[in-house]
């Protein structure tokens, strides 16, 4: 291949703000253009899948917090659904509804973080991110109120949720849900159609709908490319079919479209939380399941629409009290399948924006 200059290797990370964690990109550069890119991961590998084979089903729930630490509730939910399917456990209606509320709060918190760091990568240094932290902070307060933890919540249980929210939870979430639409408009006014963000995000990291499907992309990456696919609609779990919401899609499949999709999803999540709060049934928040659950031999694959896409859990039982196999289908990792397609030929700053728009969480990539 003829190059304008002599190619050189540039290491981005593992300690670099634009890689959002300990994640390394080894980039071969021809001047300012990227010739080849390779990702180096594993710095945060804790071998959860192996550790889980020696712990009971309930003891494994904290691993799912620590995989995607920005969306612990979604991880809890996906894993509990998988074990419930495996063991045939019924979940009370109130628990399902609480799960929806917390999963959607988590989506808002995670998307605020994703969009904040995305505009950070695009050059709007820290200010929008800090604004978005206002809402995230209040959501984490709600988590703390309910289960005592802000980040690694360990809230869901097999058969329900661990605790009923306390009394002070309801006025706090009411006021949050009332204020959120206004706040989202504030961000939209600041960022949508912002000239700099358009210049940095439009036409960057473009993925066609066909490629997105073939590359197993999920979540805002897939919807940003114009594929209206959302597991909450396609395979409704926890009674998502009772709620009225829309699936936003992008048109061009670029970084800016993914940003818009996430912003719109926050609006839709607010709508879902409002409906769930209005129709929150009374009753028990958990069914009694044995702590050392022993499902019959078999297997189950359950997935939820996490903030980053299809978050799947494949659990195999051999009849013992620990899973025989525990596999996490990690959307952060699989969304990077098309990294080369996005980065090769782009300039270095564009590749950083493209990577930022994927919204990776390294804890989930490495597990």
């Amino acid at each position: 291949m003829t190059t304008a200059t002599e190619p050189y290797v540039l290491n981005i990370g593992p300690q670099h703000p634009s890689t959002h964690g300990v994640f390394r990109l080894r980039v071969v550069m021809d001047g300012e253009r990227i010739q080849d890119v390779e990702m180096v991961v594993g710095y945060l590998h804790r071998s959860m899948e192996k550790l889980a084979e020696e712990r009971t089903y309930t003891q494994n729930i904290p691993f799912t917090d620590r995989a995607d630490y920005l969306a612990a509730m979604s991880g809890n939910l996906g894993y509990c659904l998988a074990v419930e399917r495996l063991a045939g456990v019924e979940v009370p209606e109130r628990a399902s509804c609480l799960r929806v509320i917390f999963a959607e709060l988590q989506r808002i918190a995670s998307h605020s973080m994703a969009n904040g760091t995305f505009v950070n990568d695009a050059g709007a240094w820290q200010t929008p991110l800090m604004y978005m932290f206002r809402e995230r902070e209040r959501i984490l307060d709600l988590f703390e109120m309910t289960c005592g933890a802000r980040l690694t919540t360990n809230y869901m249980r097999i058969g329900g949720v661990a605790f009923d929210p306390p009394d002070e939870f309801y006025p706090a979430i009411e006021s949050l849900v009332d204020e959120l639409p206004e706040r989202i408009e504030e961000y939209a006014e600041l960022l949508v159609d912002n000239e700099i963000l358009l210049a940095r995000g439009r036409g960057v990291g473009v993925i066609s709908a066909e490629d997105a499907i073939n590359g197993s992309l999920a979540g805002p990456m897939l919807r940003g490319s114009g594929v209206p696919w959302d597991l909450r609609k396609a395979e409704p779990y926890c009674g998502y079919d009772r709620f009225d919401f829309e699936i936003p899609v992008g048109r061009q499949g670029d970084a800016y479209d993914r940003f818009l999709v996430r912003l719109e999803e926050v609006r839709q999540s607010t709508k879902i939380i409002r409906q769930a709060l209005d129709g929150l049934p009374s009753g028990p928040h958990k069914t009694q399941t044995p702590l050392a659950l022993r499902p019959d031999p078999g297997e189950a694959y359950a997935r939820v629409e996490g903030p980053r896409g299809e978050l799947g859990f494949y659990v195999v039982s051999d009849g013992g009290s620990a899973p025989f196999r525990f596999h996490i289908r990690a959307p952060s990792l699989i969304n990077l399948s098309l990294l080369r397609e996005m980065a090769i030929g782009a300039s270095l700053p564009d590749a950083i924006v493209a990577l930022g728009s994927v919204d990776i969480v390294v804890g989930e990539i490495d597990r």
Binding site: G42, E49, R85, N214, S216, L217, E235, D296, L333, S337
Partner: protein, 171 residues
């Protein structure tokens, strides 16, 4: 075990596969269809291209070590028809398991197969870039195998940082 809400039964998928890819089917249950490992890439190609089965997305790929054999499990997704198909390929060989790669059909298999190779040691023939992913080249053994109980001869803890002794430059 109830299958997923929109999962096609293995029997329903087996008939069209058998018609298109001769002697590929080994067994079909109401949850999955088991295919001959050496034909798995042909089966996936057929499932991907067929208009009715329409398995255009490889949603999940992982492997299970059953002590004497490896089960490689493919969860396929049709986005237009909204159904899921589960395909299994059981590799009888436990020391050097190998089967054809799905990367020719699905780009989404690139990283998932690398992960299975890294942690389970299943080789995918035809994968363009089959290297260790989370662990480094030269790591002793494949940790997700059931017979991997500790790091050979270096328990507890790891040997020296891999680049110190081997003379390999950190890439």
């Amino acid at each position: 075990m109830p299958a997923g809400p929109r999962q096609l039964s293995g029997e329903a998928v087996a008939a069209p596969i058998a018609a298109a890819v001769p002697d590929a089917i080994l067994r079909a249950t109401d949850e999955w269809v088991e295919v001959r490992p050496e034909r798995v890439a042909d089966v996936l190609r057929f499932l991907h291209d067929d208009a009715d089965l329409d398995a255009r997305q490889l949603s999940n790929l992982c492997a299970v070590d059953r002590h004497d054999r490896f089960e490689v499990v493919y969860h396929l997704q049709s986005l237009d028809r909204n159904h899921q198909i589960v395909v299994k390929a059981i590799v009888g060989e436990h020391e050097e398991p190998a089967l054809p790669s799905a990367t020719g059909v699905y780009k989404g298999a690139l990283l998932q197969e690398r992960e299975v190779y890294d942690l389970m040691g299943v080789r995918f023939e035809g994968h363009p870039d089959l290297r260790r992913m989370f662990l480094w080249e030269g790591y002793p053994g494949f940790p997700l195998r059931k017979d991997f109980l500790q790091i050979p001869e270096h328990h507890p803890g790891l040997p020296k940082f891999p680049f110190e002794e081997s003379g390999v430059q950190a890439r």
